[in-house]
């Protein structure tokens, strides 16, 4: 298993020390590093790492503020020089925290924990189409099958789902949902939408060079330029 990591720390020497320590763990692939929260935010959105090692005290937004903005989309291991921050780190459901200077054995424990968590979420991936979900529509609860959801839309910390019975909400992030879906049936259209492939009725070129998909319920969903390319490749005749 390869674990993709981004290191976020304002001090280059601290980043290079962590890189040195992580180089002893062959399963870790450091895909990038960032020296502040803003840079990290962009890189995380673009590269989608499995986890980030995050310093707390940085110029501009702090590591805690960055963690808050990321929600549970990425596993966070805080690296802090001072113990008192650890309480905050755990209140944000951080996966772990390491105190600088990082102890190699403690780092190994943390990587172990991370590996287990990733394996667990991988094992949960690809739910079958007839997987049952209990969903609340207004005051009523209804049991639906996964196949009946034609769109997941990110709304704050929730995801709106669109089904033949109307709209409902799941308390989960789109990234977590995506990890559980079978990619044969569902496609990540953009940062804010996942759509069911057989619910696409038609598509047309969008001004943004992406695509606009019309779903069976009449809704239109934007497919980002990058994802449109991926979708075209996925549905190419040569794939057969």
């Amino acid at each position: 298993m390869t674990i993709k990591i981004i290191i976020v720390d304002d001090e280059r020497l601290a980043r290079s020390e962590l890189k040195r320590l992580l180089s002893k763990h062959s399963q870790i692939e450091i895909i990038d590093e960032a020296k502040n929260a803003e840079e990290a935010s962009e890189k995380i959105a673009e590269l989608k790492p499995d986890a980030i090692f995050l310093d707390i005290h940085m110029p501009g937004a702090t590591g805690l503020e960055l963690a808050e903005s990321l929600g549970d989309d990425v596993n966070i291991i805080f690296c802090t020089a001072y113990d008192q921050f650890a309480v905050d780190a755990f209140s944000l459901n951080a996966m772990d925290y390491l105190v600088k200077p990082v102890n190699p054995e403690r780092l190994a424990e943390s990587i172990d924990k991370l590996e287990k968590r990733l394996e667990q979420s991988k094992g949960e991936a690809g739910l079958p189409d007839d997987h049952k979900l209990m969903v609340k529509y207004g005051e009523q609860m209804r049991i639906i099958e996964l196949r009946e959801i034609i769109r997941f839309e990110s709304i704050g910390n929730h995801a709106a789902i669109y089904t033949p019975y109307g709209k409902a909400f799941l308390h989960s992030s789109l990234n977590k949902i995506e990890a559980k879906l079978d990619e044969k049936h569902y496609f990540r259209a953009s940062r804010s939408d996942i759509i069911r492939l057989d619910a696409i009725e038609s598509m047309e070129q969008a001004i943004s060079y992406g695509l606009t998909a019309t779903l069976t319920n009449g809704q239109t969903v934007e497919i980002s330029r990058r994802q449109a390319t991926k979708l075209k490749q996925l549905l190419e005749f040569t794939q057969l």
Partner: protein
Amino acid sequence: MFENNAQAPLNPHFLFNSMNAIRYMIFENQDQASELLSNLAELIRYQLADGKTKTNIENELVQVEHLLSLEQLRLEERLDVTLDINLPAKPYRLKQTLILPLLEYVFIEKDIYGVLHNQLTIKCAESNDQCIITISLTQSPKIKPGKLEFTELLTKLNASDVCEINQTLTENCYNMELIINNDY
């Protein structure tokens, strides 16, 4: 890092951060790590002797350079330093350290670690039997507002009667002029 007597502990944050940074540097450049460790050791020795033996402007400025070398190790491109030193003809003997604690106070109060960039200029010149040390700090995106309160620190350093401090502040730059009148 400096207090007004030799028994005072070192500023633990500075010491901790410097030692960490030097430790990281060992894996990159052993010669530089060794030099920086010497700078730290000299700062510690200077502090241990503080108040026991007299010092002077020249000694102070050597230690300022050591302090800056360690801050630059951590902050790298986020701290640019320009030194414009014309040592005075008179030695301006000091009973104890003065410039170092004032500089460190400016660093802490203006939070040099919390901004994206610091441009620091330190000048030393003699004029009309006075030694004038100017500390100019330009920060981006912006400097922490407000002038600093030095009364308590100068009292602690027993320097209230022998020097005066003038401060000016613009949108991005803090300017402090330390005028040392006599030996003390």
